[in-house]
């Protein structure tokens, strides 16, 4: 199996995310054994943000890293694991609320496809960028 980064590269839907991860210097972390649970926003999610948002973040790696870390939970959890708890602590520190009933929603995003298993964790694909708060 591939690790999280390779899986994402292979899917072809996450070019913005991968660039962001690269700029924020988190590539190495996401290639490490982990394990991690990653909520990966698709490219459309980034495009839906108002103009200039991504640009500003990309120019400021520490701030970008903070936003990206909010999409990661330490430890590998599948959907069935996640719905056991109403909220989980992200790497950034803020909590991520999980909707326990149908449909599977994470904070204010819908999960497009869940439980993509990689070497070093599990990826769930979401349709919006999450912001802490």
């Amino acid at each position: 199996m591939a690790n999280i980064i390779e899986t994402a590269k292979g899917a072809g839907l996450f070019s913005t995310l991968l660039t962001a991860v690269e700029v924020a210097g988190l590539t190495g972390a996401l290639e490490s054994p982990g394990p991690f649970t990653v909520f990966a926003p698709v490219d459309d999610a980034f495009a839906a943000l108002p103009p200039g948002t991504v640009q500003t973040l990309v120019q400021n790696p520490p701030q970008l890293a903070r936003i990206l870390k909010f999409h990661v939970i330490s430890g590998a959890y599948s959907r069935s694991d996640l719905v056991d708890q109403p909220s989980w602590e992200s790497l950034e520190g803020a909590m991520i609320p999980i909707r326990c009933a149908e449909p599977f929603e994470v904070k204010n995003t819908s999960v497009l496809s869940a439980d993509i298993v990689c070497d070093n964790g599990i990826v769930h694909v979401i349709n919006r960028v999450m912001l802490p708060g």
Partner: protein, 430 residues
Amino acid sequence: MTVLTSSAKALPPSTHPFAEVVERLEAGGSMLPDTPENLMQIIGIYKAYAVPMDFYWRDLLYIAEQVFLNPLPAFKYFPSQEYLDRPNSYQGDQAELRIWRGEAGAHPELLEFMEKGEIGKLPKLLHHLWHDRINMEFAEACMDAMLWHQGMGGRFNDYLDSEVYRQNADKAIKAYFKGNPLMLGLYKLFPEMLLEQVKKLSYVANLGLFWEVMAPVFFEMSDIYDEGGFSGVPAAMDFLVNGIFAVAGRPIYHQVFIRGECFEIIPKSEGFTWLYEAALPYVEAVFYRTAPFRGTKSYNAQAGQVPSEQSEFHYGILYADVFPVGSAGIPPTLLMQDMLHFLPPYLTELYLQHKRGEDDILVQLGITFQRSMYNVTSAVIQALRAALLFPLDDPDPEHLKANRAFFESQMDRFIRPEARLRDVQTEHYR
């Protein structure tokens, strides 16, 4: 986020006391009704606010970075030419994200006022002593409000108590007072005192960086309005929302220049963002909370006339009774005096036609300012909704219900009688 009607009808009507406003928010509008006069008023006052704001952010950064711990800062309101020329990161040709089409240095109207003031061309010191200048005390009062009210979200305040910050500050303090045995001795005896001053200065820097963004936003809005580019108040609000998002990731930091050397008291690498560490605390502190109104009102604290919880404070601009009281803070007397100097002609004309014309122009423009701040708050609310909740045209009724709950909880804060939300819905509130 254009105005829509179809999905808003998916929910039954709201039962909130401000149902009308909630439904307007759900349709993509602002708390302020969408009338041409409202639009004219708020854009005009944004421009009048942005010119002094241009001075505020430059001087605030000057104070935070250069004046720093000067024990007798008699000239802190005289920013050096370097700071007046300092390019705003969001205007001018060199800006990476250019919000305003104008030049990067200080606004020409500001420079003209600094030279001439109200009383004519005189040396700067005389202008300062005659108080014929931009009233920086207002900016400092806003900073005080942010400093005093804690627990407003963001990591800034907690960081100021951390060990890392203490070390950074310690280095800077020692460097600043090198060769000054009196102050260093004072620092040894009372380390917390100078540390507290540095914390204050960090908030000064925070506010300066916040306003550095808002000024070009307001200037651009004024230019767009002059070209006829806004179709109404919701369009103006949308511009603000987009602006908020675009700059949300801007780093907030505090660096000090001591004898040419740069000391990073709050480095950019800490990851503090404009949205979470500057904008949201500012809105909470200055728009909602601040401190009990000074001037002609007295409070009996023992009778509970001042809330015992800071979060219950309701003395911000959204609740203010905008009569000039001559002091800094809210009601924004000093700011109103500043804005008076930079009113666009169409606003001056409007004020001369109503109430007492020139005699109470300060009150009229203060009320316009209040309306405009309701619009800014609406933009913040909509931005938060977009960031943390669901789009307005989301097909899922569960999501729409969550949106509505959010809007209603925001409107709950305006139920108390001091809130001016009801007044700004009418046009005869002037």
